[in-house]
């Protein structure tokens, strides 16, 4: 239990510290491809500190939903962060690690965010909530099938066990992992509101989804929402990294191990963030009703993986 306490403290602090970096890095990458210099890599940290110092403005229409959502959101995200070890894999705990619980913690955060979008009575908020829940309804079967495939490939539903296993194997001898990583990448793009699904930089009513829901948030509430979005991105990146390229992730805590793991994770995260930035720069935003086609690709890849595994064992 002592090691688990150490894990939860370290992992949580690391997630909180590293998440804003990846957000800035993607922005920076996109800026470079557009021929701009872009904001500093510390910009997201500054933004959160600045927002914390500002007063909170509530709409006169809003209720307690608006007031509790930022706190619930970051809480669900931090709870979910325990499921994705970024530095070292702790000893098994009966409550932590179930891949299904991980997914539904993310869904719970989304549920309250969508309610908060409706709370102020603004048309934008309602539009954002409506679109977000639509996208979520279509992407969730894909996520579940992808996660079921992961459970199938690794023969376990515990994420910590999956990562332990993926540490021991190489993708070269495990082609299903490569296939499923493509699906995980699409999920990462969709769930973090990136182009072609959503555009995190826009405030144009026709295109925004995630931004529309948090339009009425301000001050420390907005800071919490931004931070939890950043954490969500890190978690999904961490999931992909730990499955596809887990090298460096420590099996047990130790000063050297954790040092190496920190350096390795930041490096892998930087690479993935740049890939995401480049991907975002190379595609155009899709129409809302065209998106199910994108999701079907991830769905298809997951099903191919299942068939692959079934054939493997015949």
């Amino acid at each position: 239990m002592n090691s688990f306490m150490l894990y939860s403290v370290l992992n949580t602090v690391f997630v909180l510290l590293v998440s804003p970096l990846f957000i800035s890095l993607i922005k920076k990458t996109k800026a470079y491809t557009q021929g701009r210099r872009g904001p500093s890599l510390l910009q997201t940290y500054f933004l959160i500190v600045k927002l914390m110092k500002k007063e909170v403005i509530y709409s006169s229409n809003s209720s307690m939903i608006m007031r509790i959502t930022p706190y619930l959101n970051i809480t669900f995200m931090l709870a979910a962060s325990l499921f994705v070890p970024l530095l070292f894999i702790p000893a098994l705990s009966p409550g932590i690690g179930n891949i299904f619980l991980f997914l539904y913690l993310l869904v719970a955060a989304k549920f309250f965010m969508a309610l908060a979008g409706l709370d102020a009575g603004s048309t934008f908020g309602g539009m954002g909530s409506s679109r977000e829940m639509t996208l979520s309804a279509v992407i969730e079967p894909v996520v579940i099938i992808v996660f079921a495939t992961l459970a199938f490939v690794f023969r376990t539903m515990n994420m910590h066990e999956m990562f332990t296993q993926s540490l021991g194997t190489s993708i070269l001898i495990n082609p299903p992992v490569l296939l499923i990583s493509l699906s995980l990448f699409i999920i990462l793009i969709v769930e973090t509101s990136r182009i072609p699904v959503d555009n995190p930089e826009t405030h144009l009513e026709l295109t925004m989804v995630h931004e529309a829901m948090i339009l009425e948030s301000s001050g420390s509430n907005l800071a919490l929402m931004e931070l939890s979005h950043a954490i969500k991105q890190t978690l999904l990146m961490g999931l992909l990294i730990n499955i596809l390229m887990p090298w460096g992730l420590a099996r047990e805590p130790g000063l050297v191990n954790i040092g190496v793991a920190t350096a390795m994770f930041i490096m892998k995260g930087v690479i993935l963030a740049i890939v995401v930035g480049l991907f975002e720069s190379s595609v155009a935003k899709m129409r809302l009703f065209r998106l199910p086609a994108l999701f079907m690709q991830a769905f298809f890849l997951a099903f191919v993986t299942i068939l692959f595994e079934l054939l493997n064992r015949l």
Binding site: T12, M52, Y58, Y104, A114, A223, F299
Partner: protein, 647 residues
């Protein structure tokens, strides 16, 4: 011995509660229904106590009330499964009973007496269906359950819509009885006894026929698609406390029938499991898809009942499939998931129906487009509804999540099944189930958002007030149970003696609490603590009104567009113009029509056929006496011929 005493005193109190108001239906005395209601609550408490005792100690209770003929009579046995269902029924009836104390306050006294009496009759019948030891007594109480609930649905019988709903319900419920009657008689002829016991030594064709009859018979009552059509009608027409009972527990009694007869009396075969799984998936998905387009709050909840019955059937179907592949661990997990969902759905659905009843009571409408902003006017009801909404959307750490998790886990581990085709089939069913679960969350964001958040959309919603204390206490008990059964699920399941490898939600719950406190402390210490109230940003408009808000139809529009093939929505528009080039618009009309697949393609053709057939038969009855005597003669000859051929 003492257990029997508790059982019989429970029965006795129910019967007193049933009889006391009856003499006063014509000439009522104020408050007589109160006596009946309190007795009802007391009797439910006794049954909760009894069933909990039986569940914890693992004992079973056997008793006989009245033996009509040696082979048939009213005998009861309460084993663990029955005790579980009895616990579910009585806990929901208890809370609905508390809620009813002040609900329908404005109804006339004699109606209130009738309602109190019928409610006791209804709950008693449900309890005895579950406790029945033989098919004779089961079918008897099944019928009293149907009849009492029919009268309760017809509570507002002055309204046209209620009459239609009641009639629809009555016909469907009688159809269910016909199928059950046939199955039970066939079972009697096979075993020579009315007792519910494993049937053996019948041909597989007969067994298949029996299964289909039982499945259709119980399926109609459970609201399995395509036999579900009565459910949204009856649930929305009846008073909310009755809807809570019908949706929360009556359809679970049908699930009990499926479990008892299909799983434990007939030995199930693989294709039964697949059939049940297909019906379950379709009910779950279409239930929620239809719920999404529904703007009548109670109909919306009714469609969600169909969805959740589908989810329970997924557990049952998986159990049969895993059993036939000899995977007892997985089978147990699936069945436990289905059973736990039975209890959970009973809790959160009756919670939702009761709070929805309060909302309807306060606003006087069932249309969610005319509500809004109610969380500020009815804060407690709003919070209780939110608990129900979070539970039904299967969000952790609430109870709905746990049971769906168990079924999901059973699906996830289905790769252990040896047959690749079955594995692929199960993964397809899994995808449908996942879609269902996601759409349910979307639907409840819509429902909670439109009913409780933003600005009120009508004068009635503006003037709504919080309901009285009993109407809050009843749902509040259910809400507490939803949370407790979620967070402590792991401990409860372990205590019951099962190891199902579900995650311990208490750990996550503790972490959530720690993180919540830490975040709040951090924000208070480092953040700016000032806050002020201002207008919602309206693109420069100075005052905002409710017409600018997102509506429920607007909210579900993108989903409706994506699932257009299911809804078969057609948009009709008529326009006329003042000039030839059609550029100056004069007037026009637009309409969005959703195709009612089941009503137009299944129910109406069948009804039409029966109508034509019966008009033909009616023609042959309109004749003189001689012909009637001829009919009687022919009948006797035919009967004699059949008897001669059979014997």
């Amino acid at each position: 011995m003492t257990l029997n005493t508790v059982f019989f005193s429970g029965l006795a109190i129910f019967i007193i509660a049933l009889l006391v108001p009856l003499p006063f239906v014509r000439r009522s005395i104020k408050g007589i229904n109160r006596i009946s209601q309190w007795l009802h609550i007391l009797a439910n408490m006794l049954f909760i106590f009894l069933s909990l005792f039986l569940l914890i100690t693992g004992q079973s209770l056997q008793t006989t009330l009245y033996q009509i003929i040696p082979s048939a009579g009213f005998s009861f046995v309460i084993d663990r499964l029955a005790a579980f269902l009895i616990f579910t029924i009585s806990i929901v009836s208890l809370c609905a009973g508390i809620y009813s104390l002040t609900y329908e306050k404005s109804a006339p006294e004699n109606k209130k007496c009738l309602m109190a009496s019928l409610t006791s009759f209804f709950v008693l019948s449900m309890l005895l269906v579950v406790a029945s030891k033989n098919t004779f007594s089961l079918l008897f109480f099944w019928e009293t359950m149907s009849i009492s609930s029919f009268f309760l649905v017809m509570f507002d019988h002055e309204q046209k819509l209620t009459q239609k709903s009641g009639l629809f319900y009555f016909i469907m419920t009688q159809m269910s009885t016909v199928f059950l009657l046939f199955a039970f008689l066939a079972m009697y002829s096979a075993t020579g006894s009315f007792d519910i016991q494993p049937v053996s030594g019948i041909s597989s064709g007969m067994k298949a026929l029996l299964f289909l009859c039982l499945f259709i018979g119980f399926g109609i009552k459970a609201g399995v698609m395509p036999f579900h059509k009565w459910l949204p009608y009856a649930h929305s027409a009846s008073p909310s406390n009755i809807s809570a009972l019908m949706s929360g527990v009556m359809i679970k009694v049908a699930i009990y029938g499926i479990l008892r007869f299909v799983l434990f009396t007939l030995g199930p075969e693989l294709w039964w499991g697949i059939l049940i799984l297909v019906f379950g998936s379709v009910s779950a998905l279409l239930g929620v898809v239809y719920a999404l387009k529904e703007h009548d709050l109670k109909k919306l909840l009714a469609y969600h009942s169909i969805e959740n019955i589908g989810i329970i059937l997924l557990g049952v179907g998986l159990y049969i499939i895993f059993q036939s592949f000899n995977l007892p661990d997985l089978a147990l997990l699936a069945l436990a998931g289905g059973l736990f969902h039975t209890l959970n759905h009973a809790l959160f659905k009756s919670l939702l129906f009761l709070t929805a009843g309060s909302v309807v009571h306060a606003t006087g409408t069932r249309n969610i487009e005319e509500m809004g902003g109610l969380i500020k006017r009815m804060p407690v009801t709003g919070m209780l509804f939110l608990v129900g909404a979070v539970s039904i959307s299967a969000l952790p750490p609430f109870n709905g999540f746990v049971s769906e998790l168990m079924i999901f886990q059973a699906f996830f581990r289905s790769f252990q099944v040896g047959e690749p085709f079955v594995v692929v089939f199960l993964f397809v069913a899994l995808a449908m189930f996942a879609l269902t679960s996601a759409l349910a969350a979307a639907c409840f964001v819509k429902a909670f958002g439109t009913v409780f958040l933003a600005l009120p959309r009508s004068k009635e919603a503006e003037k709504a007030n919080e309901v009285s204390m009993p109407m809050l206490i009843g749902p509040a008990i259910l809400a507490v149970l939803c949370v407790v059964l979620g967070i402590f699920s792991f401990q409860i399941i372990s205590y019951a003696g099962y190891d199902l490898a579900t995650p311990d939600l208490l750990t996550v719950g503790v972490f959530i609490a720690i993180f919540l406190v830490l975040t709040m402390v951090t924000v208070v210490l480092t953040g700016n603590r000032k806050s002020r109230i201002s207008e919602t940003w309206g693109c420069g408009l100075t005052s905002q009104n409710s017409r600018m808000e997102y509506t429920a139809s607007g909210f579900s529009e993108p989903i409706l567009t994506i699932f257009r093939p299911i809804y078969r929505t057609s948009k009709l528009s008529q326009r006329s113009f003042s000039d030839k080039t059609e550029s100056i618009f004069r007037n026009g009309a637009g309409q969005i029509k959703t195709f009612k697949l089941f009503e137009e393609r299944i129910y109406m053709p069948v009804a039409g056929f029966i109508q034509r057939l019966s008009s033909k038969i009616a023609d042959s009855q309109d004749v003189d006496l001689d012909t009637h005597i001829l009919y009687a003669f022919i009948t006797i000859v035919v009967l004699l011929a059949i008897a001669w051929w059979v014997l």
